[in-house]
């Protein structure tokens, strides 16, 4: 299925129409969007990147944002490099994308793979452009998949596909300030960057290593109105007292299953906000938004065409055909879609009543004596307990007893019981599990932990035990 033929202006044309007071902020710097229409962060070297395949190896989100705006419509293609990509993956990515230039910033570490014919430094600040803009070209956007299973790949998009799900805001919406816990160098965060640019809004970016409380304080300072993150990132933010400083009118979750507990917790924290969870993947694009405050999605979404997006369920797994999907993987080894153009997301859904619910990842299943357990469905039950902030369910292997389900639980900060009451609380959580789950899915043991690891993708870090 071809995504070509849809004429979308380049990002530079969008920023030319930004509001006069729309800014990009990170911890140390700010850039006014409208200035980017005639200024540059690339020190007069934009023309050298014209028509090239460019690796964006910038280390902070602000310089990445500047490079994206400058290079869209100029480069033949660019590869958006997420943070924390292992150096030994660089060579394969550069080969797959036929990279012949790089944009770096002062933080980019020297690597042999970056010895490319053209290397341009992005200043992270802008200066008037002396030269004329190079000729326009269609630009391919290559994004790294989250690699939940297997080695990450590069999905090939273009601006039309990436913005297919973005509805132009109406004038009545007023000036928006977007914020994202997600890094804009990954699909979920990039969606927020594009929403800000197309919506003529401001955007608050986080800086590398910035504590959650500091990021929240800056979001408060700039008056964030639209804020997005994964459920894990939101749970972590809700544990910070600094959350009380913000009052967004739109709260968005994506990237992981949004269970009822996190939706309810966000509803309690932000009583007047629209709270929506979106389903998207790097390969399939944004498939849908759910704004009714309930987990899962209406059954009617499957089998119908909504905003050009079609969904079907095959062997329990959600498949999506969408104008927002990537066209292929770079390097052309694996097939991205089936013969009919549907992308298999690998996310397992279950129909209960008039809604579909996400049950977990195809392949993330724990096998308990031949019975399947999706960790996520157990976590959703545990997370309903009022004392629980977040949980991780995993398999524990014992040579004598086989596999069992165990849970690690992070409690609400104000609900930490002392010694004797810990055991009563564990019993209470297990009781909830027994009432809601078949016996083999009830955790055999619960341990209370101070924190759970969240990966750079914003998703709960799962490991096999």
């Amino acid at each position: 299925m071809s995504m070509a033929g849809v004429e979308v202006p380049s990002l530079r044309a969008f920023v030319a129409n930004a509001r006069a007071l729309a800014f990009l902020w990170d911890r140390g710097a700010s850039v006014r969007f409208t200035d980017l229409a005639r200024e540059t962060s690339l020190g007069g070297r934009l023309a050298e990147l014209s028509g090239r395949s460019v690796l964006l190896a910038t280390t902070n989100q602000l310089s990445t944002a500047l490079a994206l705006i400058e290079l869209d419509g100029i480069a033949r293609r660019f590869v958006v490099l997420p943070p924390d990509v292992e150096a030994d993956r660089l060579g394969a990515m550069i080969a797959a994308a036929e990279v012949n230039a790089a944009v770096i910033d002062e933080g980019t570490a020297a690597a042999p793979a970056l010895a490319l014919p053209v290397r341009v430094t992005c200043a992270g600040a802008i200066a008037p452009m002396k030269e004329a803009l190079p000729a326009r070209a269609a630009t391919e956007w290559l994004l790294m998949t989250s690699g939940t299973t297997g080695a990450p790949k590069l999905a090939v998009h273009n601006l039309a596909a990436l913005t297919a799900a973005i509805v132009a805001p109406s004038a009545a919406d007023g000036a928006a300030v977007w914020g994202t816990f997600y890094d804009i160098r990954r699909y979920g965060g990039l969606q927020i960057f594009l929403r800000a640019v197309l919506g003529r809004a401001s955007l608050v970016l986080s800086s590398a290593g910035e504590p959650v409380a500091d990021h929240l304080a800056r979001l408060a300072q700039y008056g964030v109105t639209h804020l997005s993150g994964t459920p894990s990132q939101w749970r972590r933010a809700l544990m910070s007292p600094a959350i009380r400083g913000i009052a967004p009118r739109y709260v968005r979750l994506s990237g992981e299953i949004a269970d009822q507990a996190i939706l309810d917790a966000l509803r309690a924290a932000f009583p007047r906000a629209v709270i929506g969870h979106a389903y998207a993947s790097t390969e399939a694009g944004v498939a849908f938004d759910v704004n009714d405050g309930l987990a899962g999605f209406p059954a009617g979404y499957v089998g119908s065409v909504r905003d050009g997006v079609e969904m079907k369920v095959v062997d329990g797994s959600l498949r999506i055909r969408s104008p927002g999907a990537a066209s292929r993987y770079a390097g052309g080894v694996a097939k991205l879609a089936d013969a009919d153009g549907f992308v298999d997301t690998g996310d397992i859904v279950e129909l209960r009543g008039d809604r579909y619910y996400f049950a977990g990842r195809n392949g993330g299943i724990i096998n308990i004596g031949g019975l399947k357990v999706h960790p996520e469905e157990v976590e959703a039950v545990i997370n309903r307990h009022p004392s629980v902030r977040m949980s991780l369910v995993r398999r524990k292997q014992s040579p004598v007893t086989g596999s069992i389900v165990v849970a690690e639980v992070v409690l609400e900060p104000d609900r930490q019981p002392d010694g004797p009451r810990q055991s009563a609380l564990k019993d209470d959580i297990l009781k909830l599990c027994r009432e809601a789950l078949p016996r083999h899915k009830v955790p055999a043991a619960i341990s209370f932990v101070p924190a759970l690891n969240v990966a750079a993708t914003g998703k709960l870090l799962r490991r096999q035990g």
């Binding site: 308990i368 004596g369 014992s398 004598v400 007893t401 055999a444 619960i446």
Partner: protein, 81 residues
């Protein structure tokens, strides 16, 4: 509480939770006949690791398969040593 009492209390509790009926818990009771199935037994080992701080079956270099309740208790009394 003694190791033996802890084990018996947990067995009774898991039987209750899983809707099973336990045989009288005597020393020579064969574990396979105690009333807990394999899942119940796995849950028991996990709970005992939580309350006694040791999983002697995972800690042991050779897999130990106690046959009677008395042997099972002994594995825990000597667990991790």
């Amino acid at each position: 509480m003694s190791v033996k009492l802890t084990i018996i209390e947990q067995m009774e509790r898991i039987a209750r939770e899983h809707g099973k009926i336990l045989a009288p818990l005597k020393e020579d009771l064969v574990l396979a006949d105690c009333g807990l199935d394999s899942l119940g037994f796995a849950v028991l080992v996990a709970r005992l690791e939580d309350s006694l701080g040791v999983d002697p079956f995972t800690a042991a270099e050779d897999a130990v398969f106690p046959v009677t309740l008395g042997e099972f208790v002994k594995v825990y009394e000597h667990g991790g040593r």
